[in-house]
């Protein structure tokens, strides 16, 4: 019966979403403004110069009329209202593997700190991870009591100038990093854990 069920799933999805052809790719021409990295511009030098001047004017005006707090456009855990956030001012949480040694943790800290546009805001040791876990499962003391702090991975709450795919990929490539969570990822994960859709014995796995 599962095979029959899955055949129906395949039929429904394959019939509903036909294969994409190479010719269709040109229909997605608005990507330059939509995706993480803008397409190379082929504008003339004159157009590029005018555009650059406009950007300078806009940035200068923005700097004049906004406060320092307003300029922080990237959502933090606090501004995203994430439950049980690792740090209110951070905008990413970078997890290390279970059993990471002190040397690996320090190496990760140094590597993160050396990443352009990234600053380490807070280190969450096993006890910090346990506090987070206890916050998530505040209504399930039995579960919290069944997990020890060393069952949970340590992590860094970091402040990043951007949280786009490139930055996340770069942080994921940092030695000894296993997962990177944005505030949105984190809230989804918290919701799934609370709903029992993630194995609570392997918390915080991406």
């Amino acid at each position: 019966m599962p095979d029959d069920l899955m055949t129906e799933v395949r039929t429904m999805l394959d019939d509903g979403a036909a294969p994409i052809t190479l010719d269709e790719l040109s229909d997605h021409g608005s990507l330059a403004t939509a995706l993480p990295i803008r397409a190379p511009r082929r504008a003339s030098w004159i157009v590029a110069g005018v555009a650059a001047a406009a950007v300078v004017v806009i940035v200068a005006a923005f700097a004049i009329i906004t406060t320092g707090e307003d300029r922080q456009a990237v959502a933090t855990f606090a501004s995203a209202s994430v439950d049980c956030a690792p740090s209110p001012d951070a905008n990413l949480q970078v997890f290390l593997p279970l059993g990471a040694t002190d040397e690996q943790i320090e190496a990760a800290r140094v590597a993160l700190a050396q990443t352009p546009g990234v600053a380490v805001d807070r280190y969450l040791d096993h006890q910090g991870a346990m506090s987070q876990f206890a916050c998530i499962f505040a209504n399930n003391p039995g579960l919290v009591g069944s997990v020890s702090a060393t069952d949970l991975p340590v992590s860094f709450a970091v402040k990043s100038d951007s949280v786009d795919d490139e930055m996340i990929a770069r942080l994921k490539a940092t030695p000894n990093v296993t997962a990177v969570y944005t505030p949105a990822d984190w809230q989804t994960h918290v919701d799934e854990e609370r709903a029992g859709e993630v194995d609570p014995t392997t918390p915080y796995q991406p």
Partner: protein
């Protein structure tokens, strides 16, 4: 997934292998319309940035995230409605039951049980861990069976 060419391979060869995988993964996660649109966006991105994409260690994983970004921007509802003229034998409740799973459960169930991907392949594309994929595949299939009142637990 490891069969995807890299280096100096032509984009067309990459497209041929990547298209069905990206489309199926994103459709499983975001529905037939939004998922297909996201796959188109991601493949267009690959086309526009081929010099960069072909050098990536895990191009499908990267493009999957590009597709995810695209769906966040579009905010299209997750719908698994059957197309017009569908086969009448398809379970009527299936679309609703599938939409009722979490995104990760749908990904795992559809790709592992539906299309026969290995959990490691799902993990490579989606960024999930292999045990997480296995957990979601098991729980998702159980929820799907329950929703459709399928009681055969073989497999």
């Amino acid at each position: 997934v490891s069969d995807v060419p890299s280096g100096d391979e032509r984009f067309e060869s990459f497209f041929e292998l990547a298209e069905p995988r990206l489309r199926r993964a994103l459709v499983a996660a975001y529905g037939v319309d939004a998922g297909r649109e996201a796959a188109g966006d991601a493949l267009s991105y690959a086309w526009e940035h081929w010099d960069k994409v072909r050098g990536l260690k895990n191009p499908l994983g990267y493009l999957y995230r590009v597709g995810q970004s695209s769906t966040r921007r579009r905010k299209t509802p997750i719908v698994f409605a059957r197309p017009d003229g569908h086969d009448p034998w398809v379970e009527p409740k299936l679309a609703v039951a599938l939409a009722g799973l979490t995104e990760r459960q749908r990904l795992a169930v559809v790709l592992v049980h539906g299309y026969g991907w290995r959990p490691a392949e799902v993990a490579e594309v989606t960024g999930l861990r292999v045990p997480t994929v296995q957990t979601h595949a098991t729980r998702g299939l159980a929820r799907l069976r329950h929703a459709l009142e399928v009681h055969n637990h073989a497999r």
